[in-house]
């Protein structure tokens, strides 16, 4: 697949990388603003703080399940185990988080450790055993789901400790804490990707593994680290989800891998690796969150929502593509 830049490059070659970068960021913003405008025209209360907080929290949850997927996609891989790992981290941490006997710190450590463990397995499978990422994470998707069902005995745990639930329901300075968590994770990952050697390695590896290898990038270690990080991020997402819904359910997250991929692709992260940014991914999360809330507000039935989401994904990405071509054609 050639990039849009290659495809839309005029014969005279009068485009600059800067122009492309600016437009890549802002075309998605245009799509987002059109959506928000359309919804608030129909529903004037849409931009009120309470509603906005809900939409942003939804976007934050989407972002949290999409960070790991985006990292894997930057290396031209993907991580299908996202949803199952969220469920496993959630049910593994739950016994420590019940309101009757809360040991919140231990619960958080357990949740993160479980996520990290699945991530390390993925990383070793991809980097050392050299199984295609699709296959190894597809397998761990089933394995983590089975473990989640076995650990929990198929039972959900409800009524969690109020202190812990603050992560999912609380506000700080009027901003949902979930949103702050997502932003903090974003800031850390952004620095990691753009201010460190590790970040360079990730992009280099995704763009061309062979060149990266011969340039001295420690390919195996970088890949293990990326998938381990993705697992850890799924652990974080699992804890936040658990706090949000006040329950640890072994069956949550079946569709998370698809959601995360939609967010990343809508955010301009291609499957070919080495391109795209977390900032773009965030815009993808916002678009999908706004879309979901819009469909709810319009009272679209659940069945038609499935249809509408499919259509809108196609239209949104097509519009983005069109805007970029127009931008490049000038």
């Amino acid at each position: 697949m050639s990039t849009v830049a290659e495809r839309a490059r005029p014969p005279g070659g009068r485009w600059s990388p800067a122009l492309v970068a600016v437009w890549l960021g802002s075309t998605r913003l245009v799509v987002l603003m059109l959506l928000v405008a359309a919804i608030s025209a129909y529903f004037p209360g849409y931009l009120e703080p309470s509603n906005l907080a809900n939409v942003l929290r939804q976007a934050a949850l989407l972002a949290l399940i999409s960070y790991g997927m985006t990292l894997a996609m930057l290396t031209a891989g993907l991580d299908l185990s996202v949803g199952s790992t969220v469920a496993l981290a959630s049910v593994a941490a739950a016994p420590f988080l019940v309101a009757s006997q809360p040991r919140v710190l231990e619960g958080i450590v357990v949740g993160l450790a479980v996520g990290l463990a699945i991530g390390v397995v993925n990383g070793v499978g991809v980097a050392v055993v050299r199984i295609p990422p699709f296959i190894v994470t597809y397998a761990t998707m089933w394995i983590a789901r089975a473990l989640a069902l076995l650990v929990s005995g198929g039972q959900s745990v409800y009524s969690l400790d109020p202190t812990f639930r603050v992560i999912g329901t609380g506000f700080l300075f009027g901003i949902p804490i979930t949103v702050l968590v997502a932003l903090a994770v974003f800031a850390l990952l952004h620095v990691l990707l753009h201010q460190t050697v590790f970040g360079r390695w990730v992009y280099a590896l995704g763009a061309n593994p062979q060149t990266a290898y011969h340039s001295g990038v420690p390919v195996t270690r970088v890949l293990i680290a990326v998938y381990a990080l993705s697992g850890l991020l799924s652990g974080i997402a699992g804890l936040v989800y658990t706090a949000r819904v006040n329950a640890a359910e072994p069956e949550i997250g079946e569709l998370f891998p698809l959601d995360a991929i939609s967010v990343a692709v809508l955010g301009g992260v291609p499957f070919t690796g080495g391109q795209g940014t977390l900032l773009g991914m965030l815009s993808g999360a916002l678009i999908i969150a706004v879309l979901n809330s819009g469909l709810d507000i319009l009272g679209v039935s659940a069945f038609w929502q499935v249809f509408a989401k499919g259509l809108i994904i196609i239209l949104a990405v097509s519009l983005d593509l069109l805007l970029r071509r127009l931008a490049l054609a000038r």
Binding site: M1, S2, V4, R7, L80, G125, A127, V129, R130, I131, P132, F134, I135, V136, Y138, A139, T140, M141, W142, I143, R145, A146, L147, L149, L150, G154, N208, P209, Q210, A212, Y213, H214, V219, T220, L223, L258, I261, S262, V265, L266, P270, F271, A302, F303, W304, Q305, V306, F307, A308, K309, G310, L311, I313, I314, V317, S318, L321
Partner: protein
């Protein structure tokens, strides 16, 4: 130019099968183990069950394999399976003649496939996005048309025919053999099939060599859509109803089956025989575990472990290429 392309295509098909040797070994071992420990696995009636279970996955995997050969992916197959079944169920219930209903349902599947192809090849959407969108559209339509409920009261004759046998061979198995042969012939012996391997291996090169890459790519999604439609009819036979949620998650099984069968996800390599091998692999595993009475959790766990095991075996046999050379 042309003979070298054909030679390369043959070579790539051979390499796909060679890449699946570990899977073949594990499949043979699986069958042997189940034959020994699972009472009733190696019986005629279970062979029939296996054929019926496996036929749906196998047919969908054939289409998926061709799509993946071009470097694409088709997430919509499960939803198209459901939409085909629902469209047929509705038309048949309203008293349309059977042949007309069948053609209309298959045309729906073809339309979905064409939409995937048009969006991917001509509009330029990433195939993942295009087929994810069509997945939502098709699944949504199936749910809306059927009002979320299974459609019952289908023509008994047709259901019996779908469940029946010809010369002692289950209809599903016949369909698999026929479509497998057709897919192999298309891939190895037609301009289109060889073009698919070429465009998956090097799109720019294929375009410069004068191959109609856009048309070839569009047609591959159409083919996958029609195969999903045929699989949709087989689900009617299995479930006795047209269910709007039929085929959920089938796309992931089909992708996994294709890859187990040696198809390279980056495109340019794959074979029909490999697709059938991969589908057989997953079907045998599920069926055998079911007979052993394994709980669903344990089944999931074992499926995951065995998939990894098949690849680890390749690795131990030293066939996996070093990472840096794999690109």
């Amino acid at each position: 130019m042309w003979p070298s392309l054909v030679a390369r295509a043959r070579q790539q098909a051979g390499r796909a099968l060679a890449g699946a040797q570990g899977s073949l070994l594990v499949l043979v071992a699986l069958v042997a183990v189940f034959a020994l420990v699972a009472p009733g696995f190696f019986t005629l009636s279970n062979t029939d069950t296996l054929a019926r279970q496996g036929a749906i996955l196998a047919i969908v995997t054939l289409g998926m394999t061709l799509v993946i050969i071009t470097g694409g992916i088709d997430l919509s197959v499960g939803a198209v399976v459901a939409l085909t079944a629902v469209v047929f169920g509705l038309l048949a219930r309203q008293g349309w003649p059977l042949p007309v209903a069948i053609v209309a349902a298959l045309a729906t599947a073809a339309a979905c496939g064409f939409a995937n192809g048009w969006l991917s090849a001509y509009v330029g959407l990433p195939p993942f996005v295009a087929t994810l969108g069509i997945m939502g559209v098709a699944r949504g339509l199936a749910l809306v048309l059927a009002d979320g409920r299974p459609i019952t009261g289908l023509d008994r004759g047709l259901l019996d025919a779908l469940n029946g046998q010809v010369l002692g061979i289950p209809v599903g198995l016949l369909a698999v053999v026929g479509l497998g042969g057709l897919t192999h012939a298309l891939l190895a012996h037609t301009r289109w099939g060889v073009g698919l391997l070429a465009l998956g291996g090097n799109r720019q090169g294929a375009r410069l060599a004068g191959l109609p890459v856009h048309r070839d790519e569009c047609l591959v999604y159409l083919y996958a859509g029609v195969l999903a439609g045929i699989a949709g009819f087989l689900t009617l036979g299995r479930m006795d109803v047209a269910h709007p949620l039929a085929g959920s998650g089938l796309e992931f099984d089909a992708i996994a089956a294709a890859v187990i069968g040696g198809t390279a996800l980056e495109g340019g390599r794959g074979s029909a025989a490999g697709a059938l091998l991969g589908a057989a692999f997953i079907t045998v595993l599920r069926n055998g575990l079911g007979i052993l009475g394994a709980s669903l959790y344990v089944q999931l766990l074992v499926v995951g472990l065995v998939i990894v095991g098949a690849f680890a075996l390749d690795y131990l046999a030293g066939r996996r290429q070093p990472l840096a050379g794999a690109a």
